[in-house]
């Protein structure tokens, strides 16, 4: 019997070594696999190269991983945000390397790695600083720059449900980079709210087939969902509005 579920987030991130390249899903906080990132912090693995759209928000999740000094380089499209103070400080101090990639090229380069494409000509960024030094070519009247795949040793992503074969479905815009990162890493690790019985996910609705998934760990439902029903009652960072009123 195939069962890709593992018992703990610690088991889920086992084997991530110093110097690994790790893709981390999410767009801002949506789809960010916070529990897996916390487990990665606990491993103490260092000299990591991280691939994510952003470079962390606030002091939790990816920002906490950066704060722990475990990341040497980040490949992303949008590091600078109102709450990216952890990255900002490291960058200004020269303690982290940044490879800035336009968001669509980032996504397509990840997809290319997963789909066995050696390189592709993209129109995005042509004529800008971010394509400087890249090979360009005019094809059918338009100029393109050559872009190479981005692959990883590990992908850590967040999905909504998985079955034991690793088939995944996502929730709303938390889908974002998960489906493509899952294809581009040697080992893909997924946190889900809960497991689903094999056969309970309609084959028409599977977004990431299990072939791309190595390990799955259930971490409990998001605070704003109960038994799959959206409840509301949180702020955009997922903090309970009730707690907030008490705190303020």
């Amino acid at each position: 019997m195939i069962d890709k579920s593992v018992a703990s987030v610690t088991d889920a991130v086992a084997g991530i070594e110093d110097g690994s390249t790790v893709m981390i899903g999410g767009f801002g906080r949506a789809g960010q696999p916070v529990e897996l990132i916390d487990a990665l912090i606990a491993t103490g693995a260092k000299d990591l190269t991280i691939v994510n759209n952003n470079a962390g928000n606030g002091d939790t999740g990816l920002a906490a991983l950066l704060a722990a000094g475990q990341v040497t380089k980040i490949v992303c499209s949008f590091p600078r945000q109102s709450d990216s103070w952890v990255f900002d400080g490291l960058y200004r101090d020269g303690k982290i390397e940044l490879e800035l990639v336009p968001q669509g090229n980032l996504a397509e380069r990840i997809r290319a790695a997963g789909a066995g494409i050696g390189a592709f000509f993209s129109p995005t960024g042509v004529g800008t600083q971010l394509a400087e030094g890249k090979e360009t070519r005019e094809i059918d009247g338009r100029t393109y720059a050559l872009e190479y795949p981005i692959k990883a040793d590990y992908a850590l992503i967040s999905a909504y449900r998985a079955d034991r074969w690793g088939n995944l479905v996502y929730r709303e815009t938390a889908r974002n980079f998960g489906p493509i990162m899952a294809t581009a890493a040697a080992t893909t690790v997924v946190q889900v709210d809960a497991m689903a019985e094999l056969g309970s996910i309609d084959p028409e609705h599977v977004v990431t087939p299990g072939i791309f998934v190595d390990r799955v760990v259930p971490v409990g439902e998001r605070r704003w969902v109960k038994d799959g029903v959206f409840l509301g009652g949180v702020d955009i960072e997922g903090r309970s509005l009730a707690d907030k009123e008490v705190a303020s």
Binding site: F27, G28, R29, A30, G31, N53, S77, F78, P79, R80, Q81, F87, D88, Y91, R92, L98, L100, V101, P102, Q103, G104, N105, L106, A107, E108, I110, R111, S122, P123, T124, G125, V126, G127, T128, Q129, L130, T143, Y170, R171, E172, T173, A174, R175, N176, F177, G178, P179, I180, V207, R222, W224, F230, G232, G233, V234, D235, I236, E237, G238, L241
Partner: protein
Amino acid sequence: MTELTRISRQDLAARIAADIREGSFVNLGIGAPTLVANYLPADEEIILHTENGLLGMGPKPEEGRIDPDLINAGKQPVTALDGAAYFHHADSFGMMRGGHLDVCVLGAFQVAQNGDLANWSTGAPGAIPAVGGAMDLAIGAKDVYVMTDLLTKQGESKLVAACSYPLTGVGCVTRVYTDHAVFDVTADGFRVRETFGDNTAAQLEELTGLTLQGE
């Protein structure tokens, strides 16, 4: 020189909204362009795209109904309309890069008369660079509209002969909506499409320092 007419940001958003036809697929960039959504006619269906994976984006949720999994590219809470569709980032940017969006509306630091756009970086030393989807949006729609004040706070024209700021995209802008007037980008440079109030092309030439094609 007499004081020129300047319309408000809200009026400018309404002006842009008036040019978007029913059935269009539209991406509204982060910042001021998001205001355009407030002026789209309620009785027409215009489908909003947000590049983090949603077509059919609806307005912000009611108080207490914020869903952190359902956000726009500016990471603000939104809703999904009947007829919406979710997809992953490669599919979303394929939509843009493949030329399937009808319109995107973007902010700008500068627009050059050949349609070059600069809106992602001022190139200031020490600034932390961040591009996001700006370069994909710039080349990712049939019509790329810019929404901006004509002048910077320092009074310099954002319409320029050639951009001095780092480029976002080459020759990609089709029209510029400013607080003073609306300009089309043509093979011969900017053409004044519409002026607000009593503004004249001559006054706009003085402000921008550019030779403008007539209305």
